[in-house]
Amino acid sequence: MIDKVVGSIQDAVADLQDGASIMISGFGDAGSPHELIDAVIEHGATDLTIISNNAGAGEHGIAALIKANRVRKVICSFPRQAASHHFEARYRAGEIELELVPQGNLAARIQAAGSGLGAIFTPTGYGTLLAEGKETREIDGRNYVLEYPIHADFALVKALAGDRWGNLVYRKVARNFGPIMAMAAAKTIVQVADVVELGSLDPECIVTPSIFVDTLVRVVPRATAVAA
């Protein structure tokens, strides 16, 4: 019997290694796997490359990982948020490298990795600073920039519910990068609010099929945890 659900969040991230590249789902806080990130901090892995839309804000999630000095490089579209002071401090100190990628190129490059493409000609960024030094080409009268896939060693994803095979459903806009990151990482680790019986997710409504998921862990939602 295949059961991808592990008993503790420590087990979920046990095989992280120094120098790993890690995709982290979320758009702001929505869909950010805060508890998995806490487990990464506890684990101790360092020299990490983080691929995410943002570079953390406040004191939790990616911000906490940066504060703990575990991050060597961030690949993201929008590092400058209100309260992104931990990223800013490290960045200004030259302690963290930034690869700034337009959000649509970030999504498309992650999808290219998950789909086995070698490179894509994308319309976004042509003629801008972010395309400097990159190969360009005019195709059918329009200009494109050649961009390469972004793979990762791990993806940390937050979903609403999953089953023991790893099928996932999400909740509202917390879906965001989860499904495409799950497809692009060598190992996809998912925190879910609920582990449900196999067969209870509607096969027409499964958003991430099990093939893209390696490990699940149940994380009791914060509010519930306080109440319990």
């Binding site: 758009f27 702001g28 806080d29 929505a30 869909g31 839309n53 579209s77 929008f78 590092p79 400058r80 948020q81 990223f87 800013e88 960045y91 200004r92 930034l98 700034l100 990628v101 337009p102 959000q103 649509g104 190129n105 999504a107 498309a108 992650i110 999808q111 994308t122 319309p123 976004t124 960024g125 042509y126 003629g127 801008t128 600073l129 972010l130 200009n143 999400y170 909740r171 509202k172 806009v173 917390a174 879906r175 965001n176 990068f177 989860g178 499904p179 495409i180 958003v207």
Partner: protein, 216 residues
């Protein structure tokens, strides 16, 4: 001169959005356009973080932090709305499926070049988000901005001096004193507020502007 305030500018943009349009409203000032879309018209608002059919802000008691817009403000979903992942969301935006995108800007050139992501200040932390995708992907890109900076310099320019977001992508510019069409033919004045002459507008912008008559 009857300078338009932010609400009046948003209302003016809203007037140009037809029923049935798929629209992305950028973060900041453009978000206000939603408040002026007529309730009797069905207009579809897309937000790049994965929803289509976005409704107004919820009551405070109904706030759901997994139902937010790209500006990370709580919103609602209309009946008929849908959720999708970032890949599909940016396919909508980059694949030519969005009819109108409304963006703020630092500068727009008479040929429609857009600068709205980076001041170019050497100490600024760069952040681009979806700005470059929105600039190049929609069928029409509208810009909303005050015509002049606080120092009185025109933000409608012959050529942008700020770092570009996209080339030749803006079709129309809504400002507090005039509406312009921009593009291959240069900038043309569509509307001027009462009390401002075309010559005065030329003087403000240092541009050889002509006015065009728009079909009402």
């Amino acid at each position: 001169m009857q300078r338009l305030n932010r609400e009046a500018m948003a209302a003016r943009v809203a007037k140009d959005i037809p029923e049935g349009a798929y629209v992305n409203l950028g973060i900041g000032l453009p978000t206000m356009v939603a408040n002026f879309l007529p309730a009797e018209k069905e207009i579809f608002l897309q937000s790049e973080n994965g929803l289509l059919g976005m409704g107004r802000a919820p009551a405070e008691t109904d706030v759901d932090w997994e139902l937010i817009n790209a500006g990370k403000q709580p919103v609602t979903l209309l009946a008929g709305g849908s959720f999708f992942h970032h890949g599909d969301s940016f396919s909508m935006m980059r694949g030519g499926h969005i009819d109108i995108c409304v963006l703020g800007a630092f500068q727009v050139s008479v040929h429609g070049d857009l600068a709205n992501w980076h001041t170019g200040a050497p100490d600024a932390i760069p952040a681009v988000g979806g700005a470059m995708d929105l600039a190049i992907g929609a069928k029409q890109v509208f810009v909303m901005m005050d015509l002049l900076t606080k120092n009185g310099e025109s933000k409608l320019v012959k050529a942008c001096t700020y770092p570009l977001t996209g080339l030749a992508c803006v079709s129309r510019v809504y400002t507090d004193v005039a509406v312009f069409d921009v593009g291959a033919a240069g900038a043309r004045v569509v509307e001027i507020v009462d009390g401002l002459s075309l010559d005065e507008l030329r003087a403000l912008t240092h541009l050889p502007l002509e006015q065009i008559l728009e079909a009402a």
